[in-house]
Amino acid sequence: MNRLIAAVRNLFGGRRSDRETEAELESYAEHAADAYESRGLSRADAERAARLDVGGIAQVSEQVRDASAGRALESLRRDLAYGIRGLRRSPGFTLAVAGVLALGIGATTAIFSIVSGVLLRPLPVPHGDQLVRVFHTPPPDSFPGITRFSVSPANFLDWKARSHSFDDLAIYGFGGRTLTGGPRAESITIAHVSPNLFAMIDAVPAMGRLLNADDDRPGGGRVAMVSWSFWQSRFGGVALDGQSVILDGEPYAIVGVMPASFEWPVWSITGMPIWTPLGWTDADRAVRGNHNYNVIGRLRPGVSVAAASAELDAISADLAREHPVENTGWGANLVRLQDLIVNPVRRSLLILLGAVGFLLLIASANASNLILSRALGRQKEVAIRAALGASRARIIRQLIVETLLVAAVAGAAGLGLARLTLLAFATYLKDQLPRATDVALDGRVVGVTIGVAVVAGLLASLGPAIRASPAGVQDTLKQGLGRTDAASAGRLGRRLLVGVEVALSLALLAGAGLLARSVWSLLHVDPGFETANVLTFSVGVSQSKYPTPGSRSAYFDDGLARLRAVPGVTDAALVDTLPLGPGSMQPFTIVGRAAPVVADSLELAVRQISPGYFRAFRIPLVRGRDVDAHDANAVVISESAARTFWPGADPIGQQMQFKFTPGVTFDVVGIVRDIRLESLDSDNAMPTVYQWMRERPWSAMTFVVRTAGPPASVTPTALSAIEDLDPNQAVRDVATMTERVAATTAPRRFELDLLGTFAVLAVALAGIGLFSVLAHAVRGRSREIAVRSALGASTAEIIGLVVVEGVKPTLGGLAAGLIIAWSLGPVLKTLIFGIGTFDLATYAAGATALLVVSCVAAIVPAWRAAHLDPLKVLREE
């Protein structure tokens, strides 16, 4: 306890204690001198003997201080004070190191905060970590490659009744409705939900009440809940008082309004404008073979996903036994809602985190370089301190403290940088990432930033600390404390650091380069159809206004006719799902052939089209003809379908039947080239069939409109042509095909933007590092250069000397960088498309860029070296 008090006192009274010790030693010396004098020595000799006894005053003071309590803390304080003094004496150095470290720390903080917000933070939903989405696992033969499928009502109810892993299970579906009652008809998507959905997530309405079990009457109670934004835009935010919405001509009384905070961008069901009850009848509840609904559950506390999954597997097996026709092969699986949302970006975010780690290492190496240079310049100071008794550990510790001081400043600056960057790019991030709104500089991020700053500081001081050796003390002192070959002593260290910087920069450049080429490839891959100058939009007609297939067909035919009449439009057609998106897959049979042994085992992609679709997208017809209005039921198949299912035979004239259109037989009338049906980066052609039926059951289709020039000028006219046809049928999802293609490359472009930025920063830092190394090298070898020049070396030779000096570590770094990049190949593989990971062109380009940078970095030092006045330099020594 006394030691503690003493320790605190010592923190602040250091100098006083020293003075006291000095006084004590003086007194001691006097007593000793008296004693010697009394033994017969002269006063002068006595005093000299006494001084010898005492030893060095400074040393004894140091030893007394070492014995004092709180010595560690006190030395730390002195190191800090010493460090601060030193840093203030060289502001340029301090700013440079802090700047470089701030860059690395800031970038790391920014990326980590994204990772933290998107991947690590639990969902901002009550019970967020317990929420799971439950899917069907469909039979693999019928639905190859699909692992998550919607759920049927009967299966859901059985799961709910029989499982014990869940606190609750809720089900919901989506449907298109036409909303009227406002200035114009709108086509909107609404959700029908089981009433327990809101309770499951502890939702509280802003006005009115939640839907409850009473509302869930067969046939659907005509009540609804609406979202806050819908309420604001539709009703101006007035109080709830018996208002209603008209959906498909039926009024639904609004019983509650959800608050604005309910809408979480992460989970689509919360972003719906209107929720209605399911309203299932007994017949609806018995439906087992049609799977159209989505299930969300809340796991019981302590139950793991694996355990719940196992239980559902057992229940599914039971159901398959009880209902063999509908349920054979239908299993169940579940995914945490959080994982579902972030998994698509998890990989690339982690890779970006790794990349920014490289940048941090480069920044630390650069800082280390600067610190090393300064440390070598202070060798005489170090030598004197060592001579005075400072241990090597002490000197190293002081250096580390000084570096950590700078790192602390850099950390604070880096935090600020990160915050600014995240603010500036908030909108950009929102477009690219799920949960972008959850990205923030919270406690975890700040904590990590502090850790990163400490690590960066320690890394930066590592090299210089190792090199700071009082072993060189004698040499330094002997060489007259002037400009020494100390520069040469650090040369290896600095070259090594620059080599590291170059290596890591090459890795980043290579990654960015590969990604850039991938994006370029993706954008230039031939999709098989012409994407330029195509306008697309969808219309879903209301069932109540157009109850018969005939009336709906008439609507769409009218629409096409009107569109073709618009000036600037060359072709117009219809399709149910545009290319470059997932669509329908159906089992089929070929008439005249034996049915496959396993039912529904033959499948292909099916698209509904109107005549002229292939012309609109310029998809070449290989054989036969397009469907036309005279055909009753006809199909055109893709080349791969022809190859796969009619090898060596002619499919034209054959007939097909499809599962979802029972009783209808289609004639094969033509074969078209394959297109990239569902995504740009899949290399395998999907066998596809394009269906046309004169008696069309369609209620929602997408218009495909080819324009002579860029669609922008024609779009307003085209849209009003459709709207004039029936203003109550809303047009939605208007976009050009070019925009849609760009949207598919958006994730890769995001990665490229970030990786590219890191690469550029890395190269800049490496260049600066090289420059500082060369500048010091020139200064250190100035005598040698002066001699050479005096002996007749030409300017070119001297410049060559310096440039070679700079190229050597660069070459070493490039070699190391190639090895690093090659070993990271598997990681990079997931990011790229269209090229191998070891793409020579990219690596060559990256290496060349770094070599050029190293030459540029050498220019100023080389010029200075060439213009040294040899006489002046030699005289200075």
């Binding site: 030691r3 010790t21 007593h31 005492v54 040393q59």
Partner: protein, 110 residues
Amino acid sequence: MPPQVELLQGTLDLLILRTLTLEPQHGWGISRRIQQITRGTFDVKPGSMFPALKRLEEKGWITASWGPSENGRRSKFYSLTATGRRHVKHEVDTWRRIAAAIGWALEATR
């Protein structure tokens, strides 16, 4: 002078405290006294003495004040505190036991 013998920290503390049980003393005086009572075996230099004194002072076993010495020099005098006095007795007893035990160990022939 007889060859210098390594002096353990705790032992030095004990010797200092022992010296101070007689009367308050300043640094040089303590050093001289120790030399005397150990019959010349230990000649404590300032480099060891003053850190030890500092430690003891911080532990609260001795206390110091400046005053005139016997020949008029201004010196810092140390004296035992009550705690220190108690501690000395305990340390001396322990030391005696240890010394006896080591003595037996060294004498033992079997």
